[in-house]
């Protein structure tokens, strides 16, 4: 294993430089794990050939679960037999990605026993990713994980591991308890998470305010983003302090307000809160002076996703404002009605956002029994092609029909 270095000249290049090196991480792991060593070798091959060497196909997993493991196989197993199997395990992270050192060490113990010793902390969806193991290890890993209090995340056509921003745990702007909601939904939908039964994947992401620090509006089938209904809380003296300390309130705050609802007369800041769009900008740059209002809750949006196949989508407003309070029936009820409909009428590999576009938002709302409101659209229709569903008929005609 001492010669590894000279066998990977390309990758060795990436040990240099100021940013922490993943190559160093693999090499470290390779000191204990032949899997990691072969990963390094195969990667060097990819760097030389400019092509990946993995194959998919063949479903692997743990008993009773339909997801959580991504099966992967080398297409050059002869050269790199230790990565002929190289599956990843997705493990549901604790809400907000908080850990104790002990919990982390427990995870390491398990993974050093059963896998490559390489991880992603974390995957893009939010899971803890254990990178690279073989089929026989799957059940033992699962059992040890559950013993340690951890469970698998989603993959395939199921609920994916919900994720949330740090929220009230550390952020002054959290308009609802993102961690509590993420945990509750995860626990409530264990079955949907572990046993794929949907037309396609379904992701939840929760952000405590419109800054959206988990990018929920871009990559969650259901994005729940905190906001407030009443007025921004303002400490006028603190505003003046910002001004005194050199902030140009006019150009930095007022001119950047997308609602054009602010005014600064050199002494006092005025906000016409009835037009404020809750964009967060003014609050973001004057955290000591401005805070979200007190009547807090969230916007629930649906449907964002990556481009495959109808083009990328951002989530769109379903509920313009709801209070977020346990047991969260308002959200669960509507989500469950949506799932019922989608499972019934969605096509295979059709995300909810695509489904809504296909059936039409108006029809979708009718089917899930939600009233249309103007907040759901950026603007009303521009084309005159309305499907009126009924028409009047003259009395005499009636008979003819």
């Amino acid at each position: 294993m001492a010669e590894t270095k000279s066998q990977t000249p390309k990758l060795d290049e990436l040990e240099k430089g100021r940013w922490p090196s993943f190559v160093k991480e693999i090499k470290t792991a390779a000191q204990k794990s032949p899997m990691a060593a072969d990963l390094l070798g195969q990667l060097e091959l990819s760097y030389n050939e400019k092509i990946g060497h993995w194959k998919h196909g063949g479903i692997v997993g743990v008993m009773g679960y339909g997801g959580g493991v991504i099966g992967r196989y080398s297409d050059v197993p002869d050269k790199f037999p230790n990565v002929s199997h190289f599956h990843t395990i997705r493990i549901n992270q604790p809400a907000g990605w908080f850990y104790t050192s002990d919990a982390l060490r427990k995870l390491c113990d398990i993974w050093e026993r059963h896998g490559s010793g390489l991880t992603n902390m974390h995957g893009s969806t939010g899971d803890i990713i254990f990178l690279g193991t073989s089929t026989p290890h799957l059940e033992p890993i699962f059992s040890e994980l559950t013993q340690a209090g951890f469970d698998l995340g989603g993959s395939g056509s199921d609920v994916r591991t919900p994720s949330c921003c740090v929220g009230p745990a550390r952020c002054e702007w959290a308009c609802y308890d993102t961690l509590a909601l993420a945990y509750d939904l995860t626990m409530n939908y264990q079955d949907e998470l572990h046993r794929p039964a949907f037309p396609y994947k379904f992701k939840f992401k929760m952000s405590g305010c419109p800054n959206d620090c988990v990018a929920s509006i871009a990559r969650a089938d259901c994005s729940i983003i905190g906001t407030w209904r009443d007025s921004i809380q303002m400490d006028k003296d603190a505003v003046r302090e910002y001004a005194d300390r050199g902030m140009d309130i006019r150009s930095e705050v007022v001119d950047n307000c997308p609602a054009k609802c602010m005014d600064w007369d050199g002494k006092e800041l005025h906000i016409d809160n009835s037009y404020c769009r809750r964009c967060m900008h003014c609050i973001n740059i004057m955290p000591k002076a401005l805070r979200p209002g007190k009547d807090r809750g969230a916007v629930v949006l649906l449907g964002s996703k990556a481009p495959i196949i109808e083009g990328a989508l951002l989530s769109s407003v379903l509920m313009p404002f709801i209070k977020i309070e346990a047991p969260y029936r308002q959200i669960k009820d509507v989500i469950e009605r949506i799932w019922d409909l989608w499972c019934e009428e969605g096509k295979n590999r059709e995300r909810i956002g695509e489904f809504i576009q296909r059936v039409g938002l108006g029809n979708f709302l009718e089917a899930i029994d939600v009233e249309p409101v103007a907040e759901m659209v950026a603007h009303p229709r521009e084309n005159p092609y309305v499907f009126y569903e009924e028409y009047f008929v003259e009395d005499e005609e009636e008979e003819k029909k």
Binding site: S101, R105, M121, S124, C171, D177, V214, M280
Partner: protein
Amino acid sequence: MPEAMQERLTDIGPPHYEKFLPPVIKQNYGKWKYHEVLKPGVMVHVSETGAKLFTVRAGSPRLVSTDKIRKYAELADKYCDGFLRFTSRHNVEFLLTKQENIDPLIKDLKALGHPVGGLQNSISSIVHTQGWIHCHSAATDASGIVKAVMDELADYFETMVLPGKLRIALACCLNMCGAVHCSDIAILGIHRRPPKIDHDNLHKTCEIPSVSASCPTAAIRPATVGGKPSVEVIEERCMFCANCYTVCPSMKLNDPLNDGVSIWVGGKVSNARHEPMFSKLAIPFLPNNPPRWPEVTDAVKNLVELWAKNARKYERMGEWIERIGWPRFFKMAGIEFRKEHIDDFKHAGLTFKRSTHLNY
């Protein structure tokens, strides 16, 4: 740890987060009043109770060994009573109550090779994906480019001199695992050659009707090749989405000569000021040139610096470009505008310039 099967737990979900919250958070949960950034990578959150929580954020390659995780754990024990967290962009955050621990912690982190920063008007870590480390679909590597690019941009992680936040993301194929489609700068692996069909095995591994159906442009139709049932691809219709490959391993898209990287700009996620926006195509193609992808690192660095020099305070990349106009952006960035930049997908017509708002 014991044998598994005897008492098999399932559907237990993740550990409750409360177990992992430090006491200062438990006591001040939901009571935070404001925060201040003290210096690069260090901020303090002040509670209504007066309590203070210090956060030190360290950059991470995301792909970490258990050894590294153990090191994080050690530092947490040493300075934070064992408490730490990871961020939505995969950085590590140490949660301190003792201000005097900040500098020693930073020193240890730096010794470990982990820069401290990423707060406020800086570049945070690059959200990225698997690449050649783990994914069959990858048109480029992920970790390698990320490392090469961040080596160049580390200064912007460790300082806060930019006009606003700048978020970079990378995805190794059009599936775009991550928020590449809404990033200030996105690096996207792309294929440019239609699938090479493994006619010998296709009928064994895949259902021909679902393979045909998978193609959004109807480029695939059933065909008999060499006496075996298979499919053929009308190559002019293929736009390299790899949906067929996701459905069927015998439709390989990966190709060393034609795979590479495209660069996208101007997306954002937050609602601050401007509504969220998609990233738009800036550079259609750059070659895969491992290990350091110099064409890609140069391109990204140029874009960052162009923006840094020209954008107004708080203006994200997309907001800046929207103000100055795309033609001006292309000119300033020295990027040639080509046919590839013009949308020709479903809503293409809505991307045409339908006004005379132009500058010269």
